[in-house]
Amino acid sequence: MSLFTICLIILVGSWVFLRFVVGGIISVPIPGSVIAMYMGLIVIAILVHISVEDSLFREFRRPILETLVDDKRRLHRRVLVVLIPLLLLGYTYSIIAQRANPPGSPRDAHPSPPLQLTYKDEVIGTMQDVVNPFRHYEKDDPEAFKAHVENGKRVYHQNCFYCHGDHLDGQGHFAAYLQPLPANFQDPGIIPNFQESFFFWRVAKGGPGLPAAGTPWDSAMPIWEDHLTKDEIWDVILFLSDYTGYQFRTFGEAH
């Protein structure tokens, strides 16, 4: 088998693997842009391999040159002259024939919090320094901590679970009708990446409190400081980490 054929098989095989094996059998579909990015890398890998040595490059281009100039390959040439435009036609058709598919949300991954954390108009402190006032009970008074977690659980199930789900995975009853989807607290990239003060801000201010930068946010999250007390919000935050097992981000000592 020629080097060219091997490279072609790798290229097509990689696309099939990403599109149908990873994006179908193993997991859910991968967005086209991500597949394109991976395919670009695979093309680079192939180009690197074939061009690093002159002998490999000659071997790679040999069947291409033969197809272009060798009289024995006249049939191949004719087939390719028909096949290549057909493939391009099919690709173009597949792009323009699909139904209107609006782009996803252009919002930033995470909103940037303000420098100061507030509850209604009361300044609690700087976002960097504020800690959950009940967190220390985890070590100092486990019974009191348990009581706060229980209260957080109650508040969550009375207010939050309709969207965020009873498993805290963002799959609540209303979730299917919301875009963007409610936060999935079971995701390892959510709770461990943020301080508790960040979560307090997101709960307290909701969608309308999101920053001007990075819009449109389109968040359906209500302004919970209008309905919950400060302590109730902190208790819900305790419940989130207690239920999922993930710990909120802390910075420890600076050095």
Partner: protein, 632 residues
């Protein structure tokens, strides 16, 4: 009427000057009394300052980076008595000399623009940093005269004076590094005007305590100090009035000063090496004689080697800087990695991927000109796969909402892919980068071994030991990476990630020691045919220099943009019409324009050097057609 070419150019020149005068004319109509901002004509103040600052930084990076390795190469030449090293080091410094005056010129342009367009900001900065500016001038004089002595005295200070010449080289680097540290203090202060309680001056400790007591009369000095440790961040300004209350040293030694110093110091080496390699590549491509080809092939290899030496520790230094930014201000950290600038880091991953793929490609191409290197070619496909998979992980975004359609988001069940989403987290990316670094090191090891046969009796055991070190290092890095998904972030950032770095560094050090001893008396089975590199590999060197330049421009945009609408973060707001953060697309365009200007200027300076050389050669033609061969 027939117009001569000369006259046509004259008319065109006059028209251009006329338009330029028209364009800047409004500037003369401006009120030159005390103003907060003055607009720069046509392109605006921010764009003007951006271009001048970035060009100054690129040239500065080059002239600070090159002497660092020039003096080491000169030292190697002195110790090994191989004059080729000495000649190459001298050639590096000649390039530096050409760029030196341009750096100073651009620095002057930047200062003029800043004083003109941002008088109030400059007034505040000079009020705080005045003493350091005097120190900067002294350092600049020191560097200038040392560089002149070092360069012009090169031929004179050979033989018994060589030691003194090397001392001048070291002194040049001391001046250069000190200059960079001083100017870094100004810009890092703008980002992080705070420092830790343990290292802040007594003056500021006292004024800070007074501020706390004045803000809340119920407090006592004892209650204020509750929970305050040596690491507690203390702002340098009065939090109520914004007045600067600390000492000059507190402002210099601000929170992000040292991480930026280290990051830039290493970056300068990598950047300087890559520009030198690109210069050598260009000279290789246009070389007419075998001797020239051989010389510039060797120079290109050395430049790329230096760039690699800088590139390998650079991600670690960058990670430390990122960590410090998070520690200084969580909002700034989230803006950087999870919000405003998060997509910039995907572009950064692509560009660093290009750097690593390109550097490896160059090494693999180089093995083609060494007899006996063929035995390592069979490992190459696996190394390509390892690098590509790692780069793919590094490039995978965490949140895909901006690059997915609504139906794709719906199919994924959210903005994160349930499996590929893991690649978007830092623990996966850190694992990938460490493996890319180890693979690149392996490429270099193969290159070093090519054409040599070890004679040490323990070579089999040695090879098993080296393979085991690589194997266990990769396993350990991967296992730590997987564990990183399940531990608190604080533990991952402060313990697991440093351990990954330590494992990679220890593995590279241990392998180097073993390999050096194993190949100490190795038989040479094949020589390096200098000048035998492919033209393709030379274009890769040029690509690497372009990528380094773009990367520096883009990351500079992130470092500066992180302040958002502040001249001095949290202290002095930007109230100019440019107070918004430019979008990524605008930044990319700006960086591309700056890169083109930079390479045009560099090309002109190098061309001037080439021109002078041609004149010399024309005066004394030398026929040299012998291919240079070397054993290393």
């Amino acid at each position: 009427m027939k117009i001569s070419k000369k006259r046509l150019y004259l008319i065109l020149g006059c028209v251009l000057v006329f338009y330029a005068v028209l364009a800047i004319a409004p500037a003369f109509a401006q009120d030159m009394t005390e103003a907060e901002y003055r607009p720069f004509p046509v392109i605006g103040s921010r764009t003007a300052a951006w271009i001048a600052a970035q060009l100054h930084l690129l040239f500065g990076s080059f002239i600070l980076g090159v002497p660092m390795f020039a003096v080491i190469i000169e030292f190697i030449g002195w110790k090994t008595k191989d004059e080729r090293y000495d000649r190459m080091a001298q050639e590096f410094i000649k390039l530096c000399m050409g760029a030196f005056s341009t750096t100073a010129l651009l620095g002057g342009v930047l200062v003029f623009i800043l004083i003109w367009c941002y008088p109030k900001v400059m007034s505040k900065l000079s009020g705080i940093f005045g003493p350091t500016m005097i120190f900067y001038v002294i350092l600049f004089f020191g560097e200038t005269f040392t560089l002149y002595l070092y360069s012009y005295g090169w031929d004179k200070m050979q033989g018994r004076h060589k030691g003194w010449h090397l001392f001048l080289g070291v002194l040049l680097n001391v001046w250069g590094t000190a200059i960079m540290f001083v100017s870094n203090s100004w810009l890092t202060y703008q980002t992080s005007p705070a420092t830790q309680h343990g290292i802040i001056s007594e003056t500021r400790k006292k004024s800070w305590m007074d501020e706390q007591l004045a803000a809340d009369p119920s407090l006592t000095p004892e209650t204020v100090m509750e929970g305050v440790t040596d690491h507690t961040m203390i702002p340098l300004h009065n939090e109520a009035t914004g007045e600067f209350m600390a000492t000059v040293w507190d402002a210099v030694n601000n929170f992000t000063w040292m991480p930026v110093n280290i990051h830039r110091l290493i970056g300068n080496i990598a950047f300087g090496g890559s520009i030198v390699a690109a210069y050598a590549a260009f000279r290789f491509l246009v070389a007419k004689t075998k001797e020239d080809k051989a010389h510039y092939d060797w120079m290109g290899y050395t430049g790329n080697f230096i760039a690699l030496c800088g590139l390998i520790p650079l991600p670690f230094a960058g990670y430390w800087l990122g960590r410090e930014i998070y520690l200084f201000n969580n909002t700034m950290g989230i803006n950087m990695m999870g919000s405003l600038f998060s997509w910039l880091f995907i572009i950064q991953a692509v560009m660093i991927g290009v750097l690593f793929i390109g550097a490896n490609y160059y090494l693999w191409s180089g093995m083609g000109r060494i007899d006996g290197a063929e035995i390592y070619a069979r490992y190459r496909p696996y190394m390509i796969i390892a690098i590509i998979v790692c780069v793919a992980i590094w490039m995978t975004p965490r949140t895909l909402s901006k690059i997915s359609t609504a139906s794709e988001l719906s199919a994924m069940g959210g903005a994160n892919h349930p499996h590929l989403g893991f690649f978007g987290l830092m623990t996966a990316k850190n694992t990938a980068v460490n493996i890319v670094i180890l693979t690149t090191f392996l490429s270099f090891l193969f290159y070093r071994r090519s054409g040599k046969t070890p004679t040490a009796s323990w070579r089999k055991v040695g090879n098993i030991a080296i393979s085991s070190i690589f194997f266990f290092a990769v396993v350990a890095i991967v296992v730590i990476g997987i564990v990183g998904f399940a531990v608190p972030t604080d533990f991952r950032v402060n313990t697991l990630t440093p351990w990954q770095v330590v494992i990679a560094l220890v593995a590279m050090f241990a392998v180097t020691v073993l390999d050096v001893f194993m190949y100490r008396r190795a038989q040479t089975s094949g020589t390096i045919k200098w000048g035998g590199m492919t033209d393709r590999s030379q274009y890769v060197l040029i690509l690497l220099a372009i990528t380094f330049t773009s990367l520096m421009g883009l990351m500079g945009y992130a470092r500066s943009g992180l302040r958002e609408q502040w001249h001095v973060f949290g202290v002095m707001p930007d109230t100019s019409p440019d107070a918004f953060t430019p979008p990524l697309s605008e930044a990319v365009n700006m960086v591309a324009i700056i890169m083109v200007i930079f390479f045009a200027l560099v090309g002109f300076i190098f061309w001037l050097g080439l021109w002078g050389e041609k004149k010399k050669q024309a005066a004394a033609p030398v026929e040299a057609e012998v291919a240079m061969e070397s054993d290393d």
